[in-house]
């Protein structure tokens, strides 16, 4: 056991492991690229949807049920399905990651919108703001903390799941996990897993800190 951790330590810090196309640096960049792009696409879909449902109050059941749908979604199954339907490309990976991220974004955006004090919305309308002005100047800024939480959760989930890119022969930190499994190289598997966890934790803590800084004037 001790030897395993020692080897893991050596693996994580060795110069050889950090350089080249199969190096940690490059794999990390790939991993972040997949994750950020998938989260961005998910945000482009989920944010307008959540804002629309929250602003109009129509279709709330979609926002609520999407959360449980998201939890029940078999990510690997989806990758295989799209892969079988569309052939080998990054498309199945992105479809799966986006499908994973959208529910968290929609649900949190919707929750943020419904948490806005109805008196404040009433006052905004009463001062003569039009619907889109209430949305842009009042609802959106007030829902922002929860919206950002949704984006953060989505990104963390995506980072943790982006290992599946390697499952269909692409890069990212998942490479170490799948290669390691194929080569029965436990240190490599563990190294990949630890790196993924590390990235997720660093992003989570960093973004949570950013949120606290941005919303330091808020009470709740």
């Amino acid at each position: 056991m001790y030897e395993l951790f020692e080897n893991l330590g050596t693996w994580l810090v060795s110069d050889a492991q950090w350089s080249g196309p199969d190096g940690i640096g490059h794999r990390l960049a790939e991993h972040l690229q997949y994750s950020l792009l998938a989260t961005l696409i998910a945000a482009a879909i989920g944010l307008p949807l959540g804002l629309l449902i929250g602003h109009t109050g129509k279709g709330a059941f979609v926002a609520i049920n999407l959360a449980s749908f998201g939890r029940a979604l078999p990510t690997v199954g989806l990758v295989v399905l799209v892969f079988l339907a569309g052939g080998l490309s990054m498309l199945p990976v992105y479809v799966a990651l986006v499908a994973l991220a959208v529910p968290a974004i929609v649900t949190n955006t919707y929750a943020g919108m419904t948490a806005v004090d109805p008196d404040v919305k009433d006052a905004a309308r009463g001062q003569g703001m039009r619907g889109h002005q209430v949305l842009a100047h009042v609802e959106l800024p007030l829902a922002l903390p929860l919206i950002m939480t949704g984006l953060r959760l989505a990104l963390i989930q995506v980072v943790a799941t982006a290992t599946i890119a390697a499952y269909v022969s692409f890069g990212g930190l998942g490479r170490y996990v799948f290669d390691g499994l194929a080569q029965r190289d436990l240190v490599q598997v563990l190294g990949g897993a630890v790196l993924v966890a590390l990235v997720a934790v660093v992003l989570d803590v960093g973004l949570a800190g950013l949120q606290r800084f941005l919303f330091r004037h808020r009470t709740a």
Binding site: V120, D122, A123, A124, G126, G128, M129, L142, R218
Partner: protein, 345 residues
């Protein structure tokens, strides 16, 4: 200034909020809509700025049918204050107050300068402008709400139970402040409350609503108290409505005589500046609350009942003793106030 013509409001659930309301509110002055909850007073108010649309009938503001106007533009031209102030928690106080000028397309600098002036108008220190709403007390928030409503200098101000959520002391201060503001600005104010004392204190006219959205009576506070239209109104005004009428009269007309000096049982003790301190006798001291000419007959009556001599101490604006008035004189003026009110009504 504001006319309701055969206005009905029925909500989708079938509840009738306002029943056949026809009411004409002249320019200037405070009209208080009063009644128990669910009587349609808030709905009536919110139909003026189209926050609620009437089922039938017309409402005109300044002669123009509100239904024919763009709702958002209409609302920008009418001040609106609500119970919990409804301030935008993510904006500074100054930017809250600048809301409507900014919506009207004024420059940010100009809007903020206007907002800063208004904070002073409603009695807030300039540095409050940089704070966020949650850093203010309930009373301060309500003042900011009033400032925000006044920002575009609208001729009409709608106030929906604006002082309902603050404690009685602050409430009383805010009422005084509103009366002072109104003296300065002379807006047409429509004010909703369920508190009849607040209505009597603030209203130039009081409109009493009954459950189901029926307007029962709309008249001056004096007339309302002297001649309630029916048992419902009389019941709403409460058993002390005779005393409430006295709260509308000042004690200026009550005659005063010299204060009793030594010799009697009780002596009014003064300080060097001839300000009343207390009543004194062999048995001890009783505090005195001196009254000015602008104080109400009600407070005079109250003070005379509490006074060991039945006399009240009268002072000028500086607090210097001008004389005393007897319980009998106050009583007879109270009776006179009532008979005058009956004749006038």
């Amino acid at each position: 200034m504001i006319q309701f013509d055969a206005v009905h409001k029925r909500f989708p659930n079938g509840a009738e909020a306002v029943h056949d309301l026809s009411l004409d509110l002249p320019e200037g002055g405070v009209t208080v809509l009063v009644g128990s909850s669910g009587c349609g007073k808030t709905t009536t108010l919110r139909m003026i700025n189209r926050m609620v649309e009437p089922t039938s009938g017309t409402i005109r503001v300044g002669g123009k049918d509100v239904q024919q106007q763009d709702a958002a533009e209409l609302r920008r031209s009418i001040g609106y204050v609500i119970q919990q102030a409804g301030l935008f928690p993510h904006r500074t106080v100054l930017d809250n107050v600048a809301t409507v000028p900014l919506l009207l397309g004024h420059g940010r600098k100009q809007a903020r300068a206007r907002a800063a002036g208004l904070l002073e108008t409603v009695g807030l220190a300039a540095d409050v402008g940089k704070r966020y709403p949650h850093q203010l007390s309930g009373g301060q928030q309500q003042r900011v709400g009033v400032a925000r409503a006044l920002a575009a200098d609208p001729p009409v101000l709608l106030m929906d139970e604006p002082f309902g959520a603050v404690d009685p002391v602050v409430r009383s201060q805010l009422q005084d402040e509103l009366l002072r503001l109104q003296e300065e600005l002379n807006k047409t104010i429509v004010f909703v409350t369920h508190d009849i004392d607040e209505a009597v204190r603030l209203g130039d006219r009081i409109a009493v609503f009954r459950t189901g959205g029926h307007l029962v009576q709309c008249s001056s506070p004096t007339e309302l108290l002297a001649r309630p239209a029916d048992d419902f109104v009389a019941g709403f005004l409460g058993a002390e409505r005779g005393l409430k009428l006295l709260s509308l009269r000042t004690l200026a007309a009550v005659p005063q005589g010299p204060a009793p000096g030594g010799g009697g049982t009780w002596t009014l003790v003064l300080d060097e500046a001839r300000k009343p301190l207390h009543w004194a006798s062999e048995d001890g001291e009783v505090p005195v609350r001196p009254l000015k000419d602008t104080d109400s007959l009600l407070s005079a009556l109250n003070e005379s009942v509490a006074s060991p001599t039945g006399l009240i101490a009268r002072v000028d604006a500086a607090g210097t003793l001008t004389g005393v008035s007897s319980r009998d004189d106050i009583h007879s003026h109270a009776g006179q106030a009532h008979s005058e009110a009956r004749v006038a009504a």
